[in-house]
Amino acid sequence: MEKRTVFSGYAIPLALLAPQLLITVIFFYLPAGQAIWQSFQLEDAFGTVSQFVGFENYKLLFERPEYFKAIGATAVFSVLVGTLSLALSLFLAVQANKALKGASFYKTLLIWPYAVAPAIAGVLWLFLFQPSMGMVARLLQQWGIPWDPLLNGNHAMILVVLAATWKQISYNFLFFLAGLQSIPHSLIEASAIDGATPLRRFWTIIFPLLSPTTFYLIVVNVVYVFFDTFGIIDAVTHGGPAGATTTLVFKVYNDGRSGGDLGSSAAQSVILMVIVIALTAIQFRYIERKVNY
């Protein structure tokens, strides 16, 4: 039976909702409204002159092949980073959840990268893979791989995917570990006694019981790859070579901040917002059905 509280009148429910509503209005509706307004304007960088141009900023975007290229790069980047960071962190969490010597030491090390700022994480990977001084890059070249992220778009993409994945693994790891620890041991032991192999135990018991955590992390990771990765891309490849790593959010950042083209940048961010809202809605509509709470 569900528990329901029935309020008489609107005053108390409104008062209870007010803080959350206020935060949503200030940090979401107002900026989003401002972005929509800005996307219909053509303005110089200093904001001294602006004119209403209707949908021109949007029209210009879809006339350019670069924008479609950015959509393609975003698809590749987000699928790779999302899959890799979720799969790797689940694997690591399962391993760290076993009774190990020094388990807490490993856990600390795995959580560590979360505290690193995106730009620093980017620079770290850049140093490892910089063609003329990076340790890993030199190793690759010794093995005969012509590693060159400055001119080879695939190499650059690998590099930003690695950096963005590494940065996100800690967060996913923490949640997976907490999820794993809340699974009753008796269930796993019972299936072990029934003769289930570790792999079977994982797929038929642990994974389904983890599904609320996994679902939550999918939503959070989609938001991460779509919105939070421009710092890493800016530091590692600056969107290059030739736009190979220019994702939608990096383009929003670069056109608006470096280029001073706020109208186009706002139009792009509105489109990005629509995409992410749609993706999240799809996830709640179709994937959440498969979640066992």
Partner: protein, 440 residues
């Protein structure tokens, strides 16, 4: 315990007293982008000025890279708290000129404050670049540089090349790079930092070929790019060819690849003359610089080079008294001795004629000829209508577009002609957009 609290009280009193005296002074804020040794130079200038008089106090703040500093200035202006003085790199010049009431022309600041100010005192190439078509100086030239070719003398010797007779033309340079590559520089025969500045902007001016109509934008904001022609096409064909064998190796869009020269990996590096301090501090081999190469069959080449570096812009909407302080500070900076010292310490160009003559007379260039190379380039021939400089709006963004197309040419995805066509076409879209937002 009581001694500590007494100390705290003393400190508090001291703070109040300092704050009190600071309030009587008018503060002038200066946002800049100088790092390393040049950051010290900026701090020293402010300190010296503050010690030289009592009415004004210049407060400096480092705001990151050139692009970061400009963006910080723009954001601050939008928020209503711009600094008085903003250091803006030469790429941002057109954007600042189009900024209307966001800026105040330096000539106006000096005239209103009654400070002595003669634009003719500046090197013509420098003054012309930062002036309107009518000759009104808009920003105060601060650190100017030009592009030169740095080379590793030891590597030249090893490859059987004459270290005192560096290549002058592009064909000679590619030949030299081939020889260098065969003699211990397998990964990089030569390289270029600031890929677009060196190979499109400076390249155009040095060959006296137009990069854009309307005198490369100096005569109007309706300039149209036309760099999808000769000799640009030929040059990128040669670079793409050399890239295949690493005779030339691409080193990124900015100057992050410069370290490949000082580490000894790339024996030839085309970059700013402002690289001097870095080379002096870090290169463990014998080095020198020479003027940029040119294609000898292009009529009139080499012409003259154009400026890099940055100038100081005065932001609009401040109080009259504050502008007086800015004018005083600029007068202080223009002093010949100070300019001469700035030049010899930082490696940037002397920006007044008097300072140049003074340093020259002192015999400084006999020991440091590489500090004179950029000056010789800038003054190689009197500037023509297309070699005065480049002033294009949205250039920060346009450079990114050019770099993207160059990357496609160098990795073989596009032919030089197709890449340069796209570079011009995409750049023109941004130029037209800039034209629509210009105030004047």
């Amino acid at each position: 315990m009581s001694s500590i609290s007494r100390l705290a009280l003393l400190a508090a009193t001291a703070l109040t007293v300092t704050a009190g005296s600071a309030r009587a002074q008018t503060e002038i804020t200066w946002w800049h982008a100088m790092t390393g040794a040049n950051n010290d130079v900026v701090n020293k200038l402010a300190e010296d000025f503050n010690a030289s008089q009592k009415d004004y106090k210049v407060v400096v703040a480092y705001k990151g890279s050139y692009a970061d500093t400009m963006q910080a200035g723009i954001a601050a202006f939008r928020a209503g708290n711009a600094p008085h003085i903003l250091q803006v790199f030469e790429v941002g010049t057109a954007s600042m000129m189009g900024a209307g009431k966001a800026i105040k022309p330096v000539a106006e600041v000096m005239a209103e404050a009654g400070e002595k100010f003669d634009p003719k005192a500046y090197l013509p190439a420098v003054a012309a670049y930062y002036s309107t078509a009518k000759g009104e100086l808009l920003s105060f030239p601060f650190n100017s540089s030009s592009a030169v070719m740095w080379y590793n003398k030891d590597a030249f010797k090893k490859a059987g090349l004459d270290p005192n007779n560096p290549p002058k033309t592009w064909p000679e340079t590619f030949e030299a790079a081939k020889k260098l590559q065969a003699n211990g520089h397998a990964t990089c025969g030569m390289a270029s930092a600031w890929i677009t500045w060196l190979n499109i902007e400076q390249f155009a001016v040095w060959h006296n070929v137009p990069l854009a109509t309307k005198g490369n934008g100096l005569d109007g904001f309706d300039a149209v790019l036309e760099m999808n022609k000769e000799p640009f096409v030929r040059h990128f064909k040669n670079l793409a060819e050399a890239q295949k064998t690493k005779v030339f190796d691409y080193s990124g869009r900015t100057n992050t690849g410069e370290g490949r020269f000082t580490s000894g990996e790339c024996p030839i590096m085309l970059t700013s003359s402002g690289f001097y301090g870095n080379v002096k501090a870090n290169a463990k081999f014998d080095w020198a610089n020479a003027p940029m190469p040119y294609y000898p069959d292009v009529p009139g080449a080499p012409q003259n080079s154009t400026l890099g570096g940055a100038s100081l812009w005065v932001m609009g909407g401040k109080k009259a008294d504050e502008y007086k302080g800015v004018a005083k500070f600029f007068a202080f900076l223009s002093d010949t001795d100070r300019q001469a010292k700035l030049h010899t310490e930082s490696g940037y160009l002397p920006i007044t004629l008097a300072a140049y003559e003074k340093v020259k007379a002192s015999g400084f260039y006999n020991q440091n000829p590489y500090l004179e190379t950029p000056i010789k380039e800038l003054t190689n021939k009197p500037p023509t209508a297309i070699s005065r400089g480049i002033r294009l709006g949205n250039l920060v963004q346009i450079r990114d577009i050019w770099a993207e197309e160059i990357e496609l040419i160098l990795n073989g995805s596009k032919t030089p002609q197709a890449g340069l066509d796209a570079a011009a076409e995409r750049g023109n879209v941004l130029l037209r957009q800039f034209e629509r937002t210009v105030t004047k």
